[in-house]
Amino acid sequence: MFELLGIPPQALFGQVLLGLINGSFYAILSLGLAVIFGLLNIINFAHGAQYMMGAFVAWMCLNYFGINYWAALLLAPLIVGVFGVIIERVLIARLANLDHLYGLLLTFGLALIIQGLFRNQYGSSGLPYQIPPQLTGGQNLGFMFLPNYRAWVIAASLVVCLATWFLIEKTRLGAYLRAATENPTLTQAFGINVPLLVTLTYGFGVALAAFAGVLAAPIYSVNPNMGADLIIVVFAVVVIGGMGSILGAIITGFGLGLIEGLTKVFYPEAAATVIFIIMVLVLLVKPAGLFGRTT
C-alpha cells in the first residue's frame, strides 16, 4: 500500500474522515450562526448550549419516552427551535436596535444558565447514546475502514447545509430573508412581516444547532459542556468564512475540519490551534472573511 510523506494511508484517511466529521459539525453550527447573524445582527453565543440541548433532547426522548434516534432527529430540532422562538420573542427582540455587544452578552448569559441547569441535573461526566442499529458497523474501503454512522453524519450534514443554502438563495422565502437582512425597514414597507421572519429565522438557526447536537450524540458523550468546547472553534469558522455568509459558513466549515484533520497527521502539535492561526491570517488579509461582503 502506498504511503504519503511516510504516513500510512489508514492513518491519513482516518484523520481526513475525522476532519470531515468535525467539519460537518462546524458547517451546520456556523451555518446556524451565520443565518442568525445575517438577519438579527445577533452574535448568538448560546448556540453551543442549543447544540447541547439538541443532544440532550435526543437522549431524553430515548431514555424517558423510548423515542428512537430517527424520530429524535426531527423532534429535537423542533423542540429546541420552539425554545429558540420563545427566547427571541421574550428576550432578544428587546435588543433589536442596540449594539451587537448587548445581544452577545445576553446570549452568553443564557448559555451559562442553560449549561448550569443541565450540569446540575445530569452532572458533567457525560451520558452514553447508542448508534442506531441501522448505522452500526462500517465499510472496508481497502485503504481505510469507514464507520457507517460517520458516513451518515457527513452525508446528512451536507444535505442539510445544501438544503439551507437552496432555501436562502433560491426561493421566494430566501429572497425575503436576504431583503430583510439588507434593508429591514424598506422590506417591511413592502408589506412583508419582518419581525415574524426574524423570529422564525432565529428558531431555524437554533434548530440547526439542535440537529447537529442529535447527530453528535452517538459520537461524543452527551454532556453539558459539549457545546462550550465547540463554540469557540465555530465562531472562528464563521469569522473566517465571513459573518453572515451562508456559502462561506458551509465551505469554511468543511474545509477547516479537513485542514484540522490533516494537521493532526502532518504536524499534530498545531492541530488545536491551526484554525485560529488561519483566522488571524484571514483577518489580516481580508477582514470581512473569505466570503463576507465589505460594506
Binding site: 421566494r172 436576504r178 431583503a179 424598506l186 422590506t187 417591511q188 414597507a189 408589506g191
Partner: protein, 247 residues
Amino acid sequence: MLTETTMKPTSATAAAPLLSVRGLEAWYGESHVLHGIDFDVAPGEVVTLLGRNGAGKTTTLKSIIGIMGKRKGSIKLEGKETIALPSRAIARLGIGFVPEERGIYASLNVEENLMLPPQVKPGGLSLEQIFELFPNLKERLKSQGTKLSGGEQQMLAIGRILRTGANLLLLDEPTEGLAPVIIEQIGRTISKLKREGFTIILVEQNFRFAATVADRHYVVEQGKVIDMIPNQELDQNIDKLHSYLGV
C-alpha cells in the same frame, strides 16, 4: 396660509379623497421635522410635493408609509386611519413606495427584486405589462439589482410596486440624477399610470418635470404645506413658485 378649501382637489374628481392627511407631525429622534402637514389626494390624481431641501417632503412620504419612528396626526386611506399601523400593514392597504435612494437590494437579482413585494391587492400589473413599460428590465433579469444603471434601477423600483396591486404610489424624487432621455421615459410612464387609474404622490425638486405629469402641486416649507397650486394655474403662479423653491 393654506385653507381647508385649497387643500382639496379642484378637479372634476373632487370625490371623497383616497388619502387625507391632517395635522401630521413627525420626528427624527429628538428633531421635530413635520409640524402639521395637511393635504388630500383624490383617486386617480397625480399630486406633487414641492419644496426646498429639508422642507419635509420625503419625511411626509415616509410618514404615510409608516417608516418614521415617531409621528402623530391623522393619515386616512379610503377613510381608514393608518397613523398607528406598522408599515407592513399600511402597505397591505394598497400603498406602494419608491424611496429616494431607490432601495434596490444588492443581494437580489433583478427578477428577485421585481418579485419581492407581495401582492397586496388584486389588479397589479403582470410581468409582461411591466416589461412593456420598461423593456430594459426583461433583458437584465438575472443581473444583480445594484449593477443596473441609475435609470434602470429607477425603472426596477417603480416596476416592482406595480406588480403588487397597490393603487396609491409614493414616488420620492424618481428623476433625481437621471439623464434627460430617462426622465422623459419616467414621465411617460407616470402619465400612462395616471391614465390607468393609479393615484400618485410625487416628491420632486424638478418642478418643470412635475408640471408635465401632475394635476396639483403642494408646496412644503419647514414641515408644513404652505400652498397648493393647480397645474393649470402654474404659469400664473410661476414667480411665487420660484420664490418658494428659491430658484
